[in-house]
Symmetry: C2
Subunit: 204 residues, 2 copies
């Protein structure tokens, strides 16, 4: 139906526009007028579809988080060998985030202001949990194929090495004295180098 399509179009137009603005400026920095302009519609339509700025923001946050969570879940829960897992995750994650550079920063920023957001999400099925990864790691340590390291620490290190460059890009560019193109090349090289760095560190 025409009406149904129009509804869906406008509603998802709004969500997409809101994503672009909220990811760029955050909850506090974003303006409803800006989102309306971005979606080429009237400001009052935002309230018609989403009632309030807060609810629109929550829809955006949930959508953004559901893009990121499966990526992280890949480290935790799949059955490939440890080193393959690290290599694949690194390659896939950096490729993914290079296309959505504001995503990790947005998630982390808004979680710092509002950690309770996680309460709703933690019970969902795609929410990453460390147990399986921990078991796999402990088995390999027992077999003597890798050094002793706590699963939590290794997981933090994997996340850190992959996510940090996107969080701190202005700082990194300034300190390493690289322009946008050189920085992009650094990131690109990390698709394989990060995994090498990690594996070198834990293999015996």
């Amino acid at each position: 139906m025409n009406t149904d399509n129009k509804e869906q179009n406008t509603e998802s137009e709004i969500l997409n526009a809101a994503k672009r603005i909220f990811l760029l400026k955050g909850m506090d920095g974003a303006r409803m007028q800006e989102i309306a302009d971005e979606a080429n519609i009237n400001k009052s339509l935002l309230h018609y579809y989403y009632r309030s700025k807060q609810l629109l923001f929550e829809a955006v946050f949930k959508s953004a988080f559901s893009m990121l969570a499966p990526q992280l879940n890949a480290v935790m829960n799949d059955d490939s060998p440890l080193f393959d897992k690290i290599s694949n995750f690194t390659y896939n994650y950096i490729s993914f985030v290079a296309k959505h550079p504001y995503l990790p920063n947005f998630i982390i920023q808004e979680l710092n202001r509002n950690p309770e957001f996680l309460n709703n999400l933690m019970n969902e099925k795609h929410f990453p949990k460390i147990d399986k990864f921990k078991k796999q790691l402990e088995e390999q340590i027992a077999q003597g194929t890798i050094r002793t390291i706590k699963a939590e620490q290794l997981f933090i290190n994997i996340m850190a090495l992959n996510m940090f460059p996107f969080l701190a890009s202005p700082l990194i560019k300034a300190f390493t004295n690289t322009n946008d193109i050189e920085f992009k090349q650094l990131i690109d090289a990390r698709k394989t180098e990060v995994a090498d760095f990690i594996i070198n560190s834990i293999k015996i």
Copy 2:
């Protein structure tokens, strides 16, 4: 003089209060009234001393950055052997940030919204530059004491492993299923483990 002391007291009271609020809520989220309350003074005094919210914020940012920069400068510019440098930096940095947990996130967040802030700071003498670190690293690689790695990548890795846990603590706590006390213990262990992780990876 009495008057001078009072001036200095009020002015630095304001700056300290502003730091606490801005670090917690960021430029967009902070309210001048909140800062005035935090400093136990009247709102109009903020304008008397700092003219505008923007100028007060810039004073806070500059002060915060000047606390962090010397820490990072330690990796880049001093004369100790590479492995010592990495160990010392890791220990010192994590100890330092554990006392100022909002500092790195504040800097990174506001730089993402406003990368031009770095333009003013880059010419100051304490601003970290990579050249010396790069030279040291290349010498060691030529001598065959460490693996081949670009200085930029190693520097990013050192920053990432040290800073990330403070940036993403809500996410890490949720994924690794740790409470505040357990998380503090993880961080504490990293004062030495992070350096081991890095050195293991690059030593031959």
